[in-house]
């Protein structure tokens, strides 16, 4: 059963990661790309979780904890950077 | 550099939280490890001084547990709703930016309310006006004025719940008065 789950989640995560990457590539503005990159990070964390649960080890647990603690810093930094600029019409 | 002395009682929740995190990260809750964690927590709290969070001094567990359960249920509903909207509505979704004035003027309560409503169905804090404690929310799937009213009511209800858990006496009295009226 666990092997089926592993395959199934791998497919789902790959599709999700592809979606996030498409948004990173296409995203009309910087903020869209940051948001999509955040989602991509969350997908990575989820994939690590599934790996740990299926193979019953805890090697990546600290990585997941670290992602959940400091993963938001990147988007906050970019958001501040974008918000600080004076508005230029038509461009982000 | 003048700093106000913070009482140990005011700092205690932070220290307890730090010790719990320490124990959890080591995956070891033996007394020795916890003691060392407590020493580190005190040292960290002294060295990396932050302005203390103003706590009201009351915390009601009887209200907190049901609130947490309801919150968890709402998180599930929120995810399902966003999933449904993403798949079915997609680009045709209607939104609104709504202003909600809160009763409380405590930073902690305003922050907690903002966090909770960011995580439950269809709302996200866009801007905060601290002087009037008004939250400006971006809400998903709002197509009529009735929806806006519902959202406002829900946010006020969540704030009332949080005040019951950890608000000050005055705010609690105001909420009770409102509920009985």
């Amino acid at each position: 059963m666990m092997q089926t789950v592993l395959v199934l989640t791998a497919v789902i995560f790959s599709l999700a990661a592809a979606g996030a990457i498409i948004r990173i590539a296409r995203g009309p503005s910087l903020l869209d790309r940051v948001l999509a990159a955040d989602v991509l990070l969350a997908i990575l964390g989820g994939a690590l979780c599934v790996d740990m649960a299926v193979n019953r080890h805890l090697n990546n647990l600290m990585l997941v904890v670290a992602i959940s603690i400091i993963g938001f810093l990147g988007s906050v930094t970019v958001a501040r950077f974008v918000a600080d600029r004076r508005e230029v019409p038509g461009e982000s | 550099m003048s700093r106000r002395r913070i009482s140990l009682r005011q700092e205690l929740p932070l220290l307890v939280w730090l010790v719990i995190v320490w124990g959890a990260l080591w995956q070891d809750f033996s007394p020795g490890n916890l003691l060392f964690g407590a020493l580190l927590a005190v040292a960290v709290a002294r060295l990396f001084y932050l302005p203390p969070v103003e706590l009201s001094g009351r915390f009601n567990v009887l209200y907190a547990v049901p609130f947490a359960l309801v919150f968890l249920a709402k998180v599930v509903v929120a995810s399902a709703q966003v999933l449904y909207l993403a798949v079915v509505r997609g680009p045709r979704v209607k939104n609104a930016v709504v202003a909600v004035t809160l009763r409380s003027h405590q930073d902690l309560l305003v922050t907690a309310t903002g966090h909770v409503i960011s995580l439950i169905p269809g709302s996200l804090v866009v801007e905060v006006d601290r002087s009037t404690s008004t939250l400006y929310l971006h809400a998903l799937n709002i197509s009529s004025a009735a929806d806006v009213d519902n959202l406002k009511k829900e946010v006020r209800a969540i704030e009332a719940g949080l005040i019951r858990i950890m608000g000050t006496k005055e705010e609690l009295d105001a909420v009770r008065l409102e509920a009985s009226a």
Binding site: A53, V65 | A78, A86
Partner: protein
């Protein structure tokens, strides 16, 4: 699969398998939302909410699979930190997005912030005119 395939083990495996698949679907939902929603602020809903539930389910699956009590505190700590940080980044991105006009006005049924923002903008413009020119 497991060495002692008792009934209990089977059910725990089944529940954690369901959790894992649903958690993965949540990530997929976030990605679909990113692709299909029309503007930044609605995409942000898709990016934040399913993540929280997804991570919760996946962490619960780990806890069930490991079958030891001492992993649960770490998992709870990880989830609580995520609860604390996700709204922060969403709020910061949303604020920047609103200020840089990344939303489609025609999709909003009401906007109660716009008047406030315009008043504030007029005020700062007045201050800029009368005040110092050193502001960058």
């Amino acid at each position: 699969m497991s060495p002692d395939a008792t009934g209990m083990d089977y059910w725990v495996d089944l529940v954690s398998a369901v959790f894992m698949v649903v958690g993965a679907v949540m990530s997929l939902g976030a990605a679909i939302g990113l692709l299909r929603f029309p503007d930044l602020l609605s995409r942000m809903h898709a990016a934040t909410k399913p993540q929280v539930l997804g991570l919760f389910l996946l962490l619960a699956a780990i806890g069930l699979q490991m079958r030891t009590w001492w992993v649960w505190p770490v998992l709870v700590v990880a989830w609580i930190f995520q609860l604390l940080t996700v709204p922060v980044s969403a709020h910061m991105v949303g604020r920047a997005g609103y200020r840089t006009k990344h939303l489609h006005r025609e999709l909003l049924t009401s906007d109660e912030l716009e008047a406030v923002v315009q008043k504030a903008a007029a005020k700062t413009a007045r201050e800029d005119d009368s005040g110092d020119g050193s502001k960058k």
